[in-house]
């Protein structure tokens, strides 16, 4: 597995995700500056990390989505390469058109940082192969604009094609209510691209890779990816 982590001005979880990848794959990923026009030779997985790229000014992820390196990411994804966008990375993926919909302000307008349970919708993708279908995992949220929205047709397509990756849920797996703190439509916490090779998700698996620091439910995602190539 050759992984590359993109670094935009204002990214701030690039070191976190690099640590998670290192732990899962045994070697450090390449860190790729936003001004580059290509990904390192042989990149299997490109990760768009969390943060506040360009301060999240204008719209979250909007400016980063137009960075030079994003053309390379688009080409990589078209070739079937794996791409993972977490939090701000997810926002960048939707702004760049690699994933549908949009992430807007949390419903009560406040930033939310808390432990969060997710339901794994399917376990047959490169990202979730080490989970079981329907498994409830505990990761954490830390975002101000994670309220996923898409028009009804898009939503129908996402649901129909099994492209919802994770949903917010309570510890017992129940959906709705306070378990969905940001107001996302259909409790959506993450979605796949058509070919299931691009995943965008709001919560942070990379901060849950260590038993001493909150748990390891996030590590499985990275160890699954480690086996993907």
């Amino acid at each position: 597995m050759k992984a590359a982590v993109l670094v935009f001005p204002g990214s701030n979880r690039e070191r976190d995700v690099a640590k998670a990848l290192t732990r899962a794959t045994g070697h450090a990923p390449a860190m790729v500056w936003h001004a580059e026009t290509s990904l390192p030779e042989g990149t299997d997985l490109v990760v768009l990390p969390g943060g506040f790229s360009y301060g999240d000014y204008l719209r979250c992820g909007a400016i980063a989505a137009r960075a030079p390196v994003m053309d390379a990411v688009r080409a990589h994804a078209e070739r079937g390469g794996l791409a993972l966008g977490i939090c701000n990375g997810f926002q960048i993926l939707v702004e760049s058109g690699l994933l549908p919909g949009i992430l807007t302000r949390n419903k009560d307008l406040r930033f939310i940082c808390k432990s969060q349970h997710l339901k794994v919708e399917r376990a047959d993708t490169a990202f979730t192969r080490t989970y079981a279908e329907g498994q409830i995992i505990e990761v954490c949220c830390a975002h101000g604009e994670g309220n996923y929205f898409a028009d009804p047709e898009t939503l129908e397509r996402l649901e129909g094609e099994g492209r919802v990756a994770f949903r917010y849920c309570a510890a017992d797996g129940s959906l709705g209510g306070t378990a969905n703190a940001n107001g996302s439509v259909n409790d959506i916490a993450g979605i796949y691209s058509e070919k299931l090779n691009v995943l965008g998700m709001m919560p942070h698996p990379e901060n849950l890779v260590d038993a001493a620091v909150g748990g390891t439910d996030g590590l499985a995602l990275f160890s699954g990816l480690a086996k993907a190539a």
């Binding site: 001005p9 204002g10 701030n12 979880r13 070191r15 976190d16 640590k19 998670a20 969390g50 943060g51 506040f52 360009y54 301060g55 999240d56 000014y57 406040r110 930033f111 939310i112 940082c113 808390k114 954490c140 830390a142 101000g144 942070h204 990379e206 901060n207 890779v209 260590d210 001493a212 620091v213 909150g214």
Partner: protein, 739 residues
């Protein structure tokens, strides 16, 4: 010397916050009338905020050294050795007045300023804390201020990318017109790669880094030292807007630059921006500085020398560079999209000379500008001692159950989750203990060691008895660190008081500093940095004396840190420490009996140390399964918080014969901890304590879904939780008020 600048009149001098005798001092020092720009420079350097003129002689009495102290007060932040070549760098600073005027931006730029202090020293920030004091919840502005300040603290820290892991929030009508926003930042560096403000070498380039200069916050530093009045709401446009994005870039660029070996000296531009930073770099290094202001990157046209010298635009730094590294340095800053400009150079004449387009605007002796600042031994009177209030002399208006429900659901003691869930407390992936416990625990990357962090003070104690209150603030911070199993290392303080020109207020400041000094000496807990904020008064009424103590401790192995959560059913609940049921100035007396009276609980520092050392040893031996110090609200509140955190109840014995129930359950006697341990270990713990001369009393057993205080009515944890968690969100959801 100057063209078209205002004439220096007594009114102009006064409007710069300089007293007539201070102006005389200026005349004597330079032997002529100052130019307008020079007057501005003096007002910035000699105001309370930068010169510490009222507090300096007292701050000198604090213990500031220790075997692990690498850098004490006098630099941007304190530095302490934590072994393995690592050092922790930390400081706390206030942004009180700006936050009252514009809560979001005031708090945000406060966080930005303190982060800059830490990374200026070469440290990567790894944690932030904040101590917030607001007026009464029912004051018409409070809700707006809470919401803005919390959003501002979060907005800046979250975007910058530092976990905000702790702090405190308090409410009291004495802060109605003067809220307190004290922000603390903690960073990690290599002990042999710390950067300082002291410049060395003549003829070296002085470089400006970061964002452009605008007309922001001109007179901000003066505002921070002026008493508030109705009119100050008019001075509004001096508020600065923070740009956490620019600061994040500045952090990365500075760390990259430092690693490249280009930096001789570096100083952030905080209060009084370019003036303070340039003078400090020169004065500390016994060098002169020449600035050519037309080279300063600006974002507004037509700025005068006066405006440039006093601007408090954020996210800026000043640096002295190794000349041969200029290209390397410039390339790094260009890469990060930041301004980089050579704005002057060091000289050997010990003068601070400022030119604009070749015209000399200021020419001042650089050493004297800092060193000759006025220093006052202001008259002070001691706060009269309050009488001790004996618990049995006060009738209890509520029974134990009702009183406990009222306390855990009060503005003072309810859960702060609503606040800290708006702070990213997990970023960097090293947060072992998040907000909500006694101290936050952050692992040092790679582990197993970690830092314990806390901020604390009990202003109502300080008001009643500044000396005991000062001691107590330090003792409680020390206890918080101890309660997670850490060895307390050092403190930073933020001394928030009213107008020091009033002898009673000065007496509070002196008393608190003496108390802090005594406690820090007794506990081997040196003060390595800090900040003073005076003139926190509105219409003649001062805030409660509030010397916030920020403290850092070291854990050898974060896996062994203790938490407050009860872990298992059927364990022994033990109190460490003696109690006589001290009710004076307690939360119970204040919030349940409605009286803010009496002497605060005294702090016996030798008992404090002995009890704390004992608790720490039980934690490292793995015997203590949960630990919580006893503070606001006393024993009952401490056990309630442990039960809520662990979702396991406890049955507690009735108060011992002779004890008054409210004194027993809610007394705030110091140097105490509640500890749980397995049934098998209980006797061993009590014996070991006895051998060390410590009182350890079993008070009950864990288990069940309720808390049962002796013979009194049990309280379901669900009800307790609803009261505890409910207040803050309910309060904040209340009606909006005018901004």
């Amino acid at each position: 010397m100057s063209s078209a600048e205002p004439a220096i009149t007594p009114e102009l001098v006064a409007s710069h916050g300089l007293k007539p005798d201070e102006y005389d001092r200026i005349l004597k020092l330079i032997g002529r009338e100052p130019s307008f720009t020079e007057l501005g420079i003096f007002s910035a350097m000699w105001n309370e905020h930068c010169s510490y003129k009222s507090s300096k002689i007292w701050l000198k009495t604090l213990p500031v050294t220790g075997p692990k102290v690498i850098q004490g007060p006098g630099e941007n932040a304190g530095v302490v050795d934590i072994g393995d070549g690592d050092a922790v760098v930390f400081k706390m600073e206030s942004h009180n007045h700006p936050s009252f005027i514009e809560p979001y931006q005031g708090a945000a730029t406060g966080v930005g300023g303190i982060l800059r202090d830490v990374f200026t020293m070469g440290a990567r920030p790894v944690a932030a804390l904040n101590a917030l004091r607001f007026g009464a919840p029912d004051h018409p502005r409070t809700r707006h201020l809470v919401s803005g300040v919390v959003a501002g603290v979060g907005g800046y820290g979250n975007s910058f990318g530092v976990p905000t892991v702790g702090g405190l929030v308090g409410f009291h009508p004495r802060y109605d017109g003067n809220i307190l926003v004290n922000a603390m930042a903690v960073g990690l560096a290599k002990a042999d790669a710390i950067f300082y403000a002291k410049a060395t070498g003549v003829g070296l380039p002085v470089v400006y880094l970061g964002s452009k200069t605008g007309r922001d916050g001109i007179h901000g530093a003066t505002m921070a030292s002026a008493e508030f009045d109705e009119a100050s709401e008019e001075k509004r446009p001096t508020v600065q807007v923070g740009d956490p994005f620019a600061e994040k870039l500045l952090l990365e660029a500075c760390l990259e630059l430092m690693a490249s070996g280009s930096v001789v000296a570096i100083q952030d531009m905080g209060a009084a921006g370019l003036t303070c930073s340039a003078v400090e770099m020169g004065a500390k290094g016994d060098l002169g500085i020449r600035l050519d202001l037309e080279t300063v990157p600006v974002r507004e046209t037509g700025m005068t020398a006066y405006e440039m010298m006093l601007s408090e635009s954020q996210e800026r730094m000043l640096m002295v560079l190794h000349p041969e590294k200029e290209d390397v340095a410039r390339a790094i800053f260009t890469k990060w999209g930041l301004d980089f400009a050579v704005v002057g150079h060091t000289t050997d004449d010990l003068r601070f000379k400022v030119f604009l387009n070749g015209e000399l605007k200021a020419d001042l002796p650089i050493k004297e500008l800092g060193d000759q600042a006025p220093e006052y031994d202001r008259p002070h009177v001691e706060t009269p001692k309050a009488a001790e209030i004996v618990a049995s002399s006060v009738a209890a208006p509520l029974d134990t159950r009702e009183a406990l429900m009222a306390l855990v659901g009060s503005p003072e003691l309810s859960s702060r989750r609503w606040v800290w869930e708006q702070y990213d407390h997990i970023i960097l992936g090293e947060t072992v203990q998040k907000p909500g416990g006694d101290a936050a625990v952050v692992r040092v990357e790679g582990g197993p060691k970690g830092l314990a962090l806390t901020a604390d003070v009990t202003p109502r104690y300080c008001e009643a008895d500044p000396f005991e209150g000062g001691k107590q603030a330090v003792a409680e911070a020390w206890r918080n660190l101890t309660a997670v199993g850490a060895k307390p290392l050092a403190v930073t303080d933020n001394l928030n008081f009213g107008n020091p020109e009033k002898p009673e207020i000065m007496g509070q400041l002196v008393g608190c500093i003496k108390g802090i000094g005594e406690a820090c000496r007794a506990l081997d807990f040196p003060v390595v940095s800090g900040n003073v904020s005076l003139y926190n008064e509105t219409q003649g009424r001062a805030i409660l004396p509030t010397p916030t103590i920020g403290a850092v401790g070291l854990l050898d192995d974060v896996a062994k840190s203790a938490t407050i959560a009860i872990k298992r059913e059927g364990e022994a609940v033990i109190v460490i420490g003696d109690a006589k049921g001290w009710i004076g100035r307690s939360c119970w007396l204040w919030l349940v009996a409605g009286r803010e009276e009496g002497a605060p609980p005294p702090v016996d520092l030798s008992v404090e140390k002995r009890n704390g050392d004992f608790v720490r040893s039980m934690i490292s031996a793995g015997v203590a399964t949960a630990v919580h110090d006893v503070s606001d609200g006393g024993l009952a509140v401490a056990v309630a918080e442990m039960a809520l955190a662990g979702r396991i109840g406890a049955r507690l014995y009735a108060p011992p014969a002779g004890a008054t129930p409210h004194g027993w359950w809610f007394g705030e006697d110091q140097a105490r901890y509640v500890v749980t341990t397995s049934e098998q270990n209980a006797a061993t713990v009590i014996d070991a304590a006895a051998q060390a001369g410590i009182t350890a009393t079993r008070i009950g057993t864990t288990g069940g879904d309720r808390l049962i205080p002796g013979e009194e009515a049990p309280i379901l944890l669900d009800e307790l939780r609803e009261a505890h968690e409910g207040w803050f969100p309910r309060y904040m959801a209340g009606p909006a008020v005018d901004a």
